[in-house]
């Protein structure tokens, strides 16, 4: 039997959090009840609030109004280590309001649209008699990178956007046609051959065929003022004007309507679907974002393909932040509690440790990733072992249990490592999902508790939807998303489902989970967020080292 993972990765984080003097295995401690002053960030909040008191003319942040004058901080307020990184930040730094990198991650999604070029080129050639060559495409892209940020073409005397406010906007193309790619000016190309490992590049190009696509990222400031539903409209207007300019077309003839449809609407890929009326959001909002697309946006599969666990964990982190903190925690609910749930999945190396254990167990037993039979028996074996391992760690290290003080946090982490382990082992996301549900039930059986009132509802009834292909409960995990019937309610699930989806494909060595266009589009080096290392990005944001786009400072008086 090979040596199983036994690094206890979380111990380093616990030592940083609680201090090396603490006995991490002790079940008793002295609670010093030092209050909010023990935290540098809470002190900063109090000082800032005091400074603003006069200006606001109304009371403000004051932790001493809490619980009848007993402020938080009766126990030790501890910092958080971003998993897989050296960043240590305060918990407050991981609320998306305080973390510009998290905001940018979401902005990068909602400001993105992928639009095909081939159909437009066909209309240009066949209907309008224009010649399309690599030179005309390069010319078109130069004009488009002028126009897309909000500048005028064709028409005279138009208002325009300030380049200093929209400099994050760009459009590049990508193609499965190597001959065409060679002819495109490198500044306008997302170069699949350079950005992806050779085997992944071949998979992507084979899936795309010789088609050509535009990765369009409109200005961050636009989607922050409007919303994701704006992106296709903003993009469409500038695309139309650019075609007219680049190919010297009449602005009014009927044939241009054909081009407009072909260029703006016929081959458009939104990042997410629109939602039904009761949730009432347009496309490119988080509620319609599938787990497969989420997996494909994250680029760790491209930069660290040799570590499928790390690939999966970064998808978990991206999903936990977007689905839990921003979608459920703000669009759907509001407040601050959701951050606390979500961070458990990407801080302090806990899920990392448990997932590497599950992966080692699977590799040891089944001979490698994606080698185990895709059966319920495999899910049972791996999820049981992974869950029992995790439970034993929580019991062995009381500070670990204290760190994940809520049952929902522990449930997310235990079930995620089980699902990731089963997904990696079999290369099948549905088997991963089966492992998730078994973990939930086993956890509840062991400790007589699971998540909060309602958190675990979907988990206790969930096993029946794993292999169901009926009506609205159907779909492979790749195509399920934040608005899947049973998943639309509770924090601490959706990012993990995305990670489980990714684990199956990482185990198989796939270049993408569900859509090659998304994978290539988010490889664009000009994106602002760190899509190849999600947790590092969050750490940079928490450490106040991340510069986000969409800043209005340029056109406002200095503070």
């Amino acid at each position: 039997m090979a040596k199983l993972h036994s690094k206890k990765l979380f111990i380093k984080a616990l030592n940083k959090k609680f201090g090396k003097d603490f006995d991490l295995a002790s079940q008793k401690t002295e609670y010093k009840r030092l209050g909010p002053e023990q935290s540098a960030r809470k002190r900063e909040f109090m000082e800032f609030s005091k400074k603003l008191e006069g200006k606001r003319g109304i009371s403000f942040y004051n932790p001493y109004v809490h619980a009848g004058g007993i402020p938080l901080g009766q126990r030790q307020l501890v910092p958080y280590k971003l998993s897989g990184t050296e960043f240590i930040v305060e918990g407050d730094d991981l609320h998306f309001v305080n973390n510009p990198a998290m905001q940018q991650m979401w902005d990068d999604v909602r400001r993105t649209i992928i639009v095909g070029l081939d159909m437009a080129h066909e209309v240009l050639e066949k209907r309008l008699g224009k010649e399309v060559t690599p030179e005309t495409i390069n010319n078109y892209l130069e004009i488009l990178n002028h126009a897309m940020p909000g500048a005028a073409v064709v028409q005279e005397h138009m208002v325009e956007t300030h380049p200093g406010l929209v400099d994050d906007c760009n459009v590049r193309v990508f193609t499965g046609d190597d001959a065409l790619a060679d002819e495109i000016d490198p500044q306008y190309l997302v170069d699949i051959n350079k950005l992806f490992p050779a085997d992944q590049a071949e998979q992507l190009k084979a899936a795309m065929g010789k088609t050509t696509w535009q990765a369009i990222h409109i200005p961050t400031i636009v989607v922050r003022s409007c919303d994701g539903g704006t992106t296709s409209r903003w993009s469409a207007m500038q695309l139309g004007m650019t075609f007219i300019d680049a190919y010297n077309m009449a602005a009014g003839e009927a044939a241009v309507a054909d081009l407009a449809y072909a260029a703006k609407h016929a081959a458009v890929l939104q990042m997410s679907d629109m939602l039904p009326a009761r949730r009432a959001r347009g496309p490119n909002n988080p509620g319609g974002l599938s787990f497969g697309f989420m997996s494909d946006m994250v680029q760790t599969s491209r930069t660290k393909p040799q570590d499928p666990v790390m690939v999966s964990l970064n998808v978990v982190a991206a999903g936990a932040m977007l689905y839990d903190q921003i979608w459920l925690g703000s669009y759907m609910s509001g407040g601050v509690g959701f951050t606390q749930y979500a961070t458990a999945a990407y801080t302090n190396d806990v899920l990392d440790d448990f997932s590497y254990y599950a992966a080692d167990y699977a590799v040891d037993k089944y001979g490698g990733f994606a080698k185990a039979p895709a059966t319920v028996e495999t899910a049972k074996d791996i999820a049981t072992e992974a869950t029992l391992y995790g439970i034993e760690q929580y019991e062995s290290f009381p500070t670990l249990l204290e760190d994940h003080f809520g049952g929902s946090q522990r449930a997310s982490v235990l079930a995620a490592c089980s699902g990731i382990g089963a997904g990696l082992a079999t290369g099948h996301s549905q088997i991963g999902l089966a492992g998730w549900y078994l973990s939930m039930l086993l956890h509840k059986e062991a400790w007589g508790r699971l998540g909060f009132f309602g958190y675990d509802l979907q988990d206790q009834c969930g096993p029946t939807n794993v292999f169901s292909y009926q009506s609205d409960e159907s779909n492979p995990v790749e195509l399920r998303g934040a608005n899947y019937p049973n998943y639309a309610m509770n924090v601490g699930h959706q990012g993990e489902y995305a990670g489980i989806t990714q684990s199956a494909h990482a185990g198989r060595g796939d270049a993408f989970a569900v859509n090659p266009l998304i994978k290539v589009c988010f490889a664009n080096p000009a994106l602002i967020f760190t899509w190849d290392d999600i947790r590092r990005g969050f750490g940079l944001g928490g450490a106040r080292e991340f510069r986000a786009a969409g800043d209005r400072g340029l056109v406002m008086p200095a503070v």
Partner: protein, 255 residues
């Protein structure tokens, strides 16, 4: 032959204790005065009349309904009491009960109640006089250890935290304290409002006693699946695997 419900599998102390709590066959360990329990609940002043949300059922002229003829109302429902709650937090360090077992106990044994289960707390809602009665059973019996369990309507944080040095579960609001005489005293009601007088609820269980009565599986007590490298599944795991497999396979409906 009369049917005897089995409730739960396993021959370990945890399995036995789980069956015991579900069956309602609880050992009474103490006798806390009803007035003290009412004070800790904090819904009304001890001795005060129950508030009501409707007149007694007998005065209401209920419709002719076969279900009403079969099901006798609880005393609280008959009197028209309002619905109130108790909520307990149980430490993961061998508290005798756990949220799900509190809920199972209530759902199986207490008519007309509505249990709600979370990870760090468990709430039971019921008509007020019914609630008073069931709370007394909980407070007096082996499901409650006064150091490892406490009644907390809000700010419940503590179930997963390390214990205080004196063995008590952490409570941000310090609703209970250990006296010099070794007894536990409630000094605040369940939502943290100071009580007029301290209420003595008796001595906590010893660590050995708590481990003997607990319903939580832990590797340093009764492990549910052995340890890493030495797996040994409790019967509860075998039963669970069986149920999970059937539920998973049932969901596959290719027709």
């Amino acid at each position: 032959m009369a049917y005897t419900a089995q409730f739960y599998p396993g021959s370990t102390s945890v399995g036995i204790n789980r069956r015991k709590q579900m069956s309602g066959n609880l050992e009474k360990l103490r006798d806390i005065p009803e007035a003290d329990i009412v004070a800790i609940l904090g819904h009304r002043t001890p001795g005060a009349d129950y508030s009501s949300t409707h007149p007694p059922l007998k005065e209401m002229g209920e419709p002719d309904c076969p279900i009403r003829q079969i099901v006798a109302p609880t005393p609280g429902a008959a009197a028209g009491d309002r619905v109130r709650y108790n909520q307990f937090a149980d430490s993961m360090y061998f508290a005798p009960s756990t949220p799900y077992w509190r809920s199972y106990w209530a759902a199986i044994n207490c008519r007309g109640c509505d249990p709600g289960t979370l990870s760090g707390r468990q709430i039971i809602e019921a008509r007020e006089r019914d609630l008073d009665a069931l709370t007394k059973v909980q407070m007096d019996s082996e499901v409650t250890d006064m150091a490892l369990c406490s009644m907390r309507g809000c700010t419940v944080h503590g179930h997963s935290l390390r214990l205080e040095e004196n063995g008590m579960m952490f409570d941000m609001l310090s609703r209970t304290e250990m006296g010099k005489d070794g007894n536990i005293y409630y000094v605040k009601d369940q939502v943290g409002i100071p009580l007029d007088k301290k209420i003595n609820v008796g001595k906590p269980m010893s660590e050995a006693e708590a481990k003997k009565r607990t319903t939580i599986f832990r590797f340093d007590g009764v492990a549910i699946g052995g340890k890493v490298g030495a797996r040994k599944y409790d019967e509860a795991v075998e039963a669970l695997h069986h149920m999970w497999t059937l539920r998973t396979q049932w969901g596959y409906r290719p027709e």
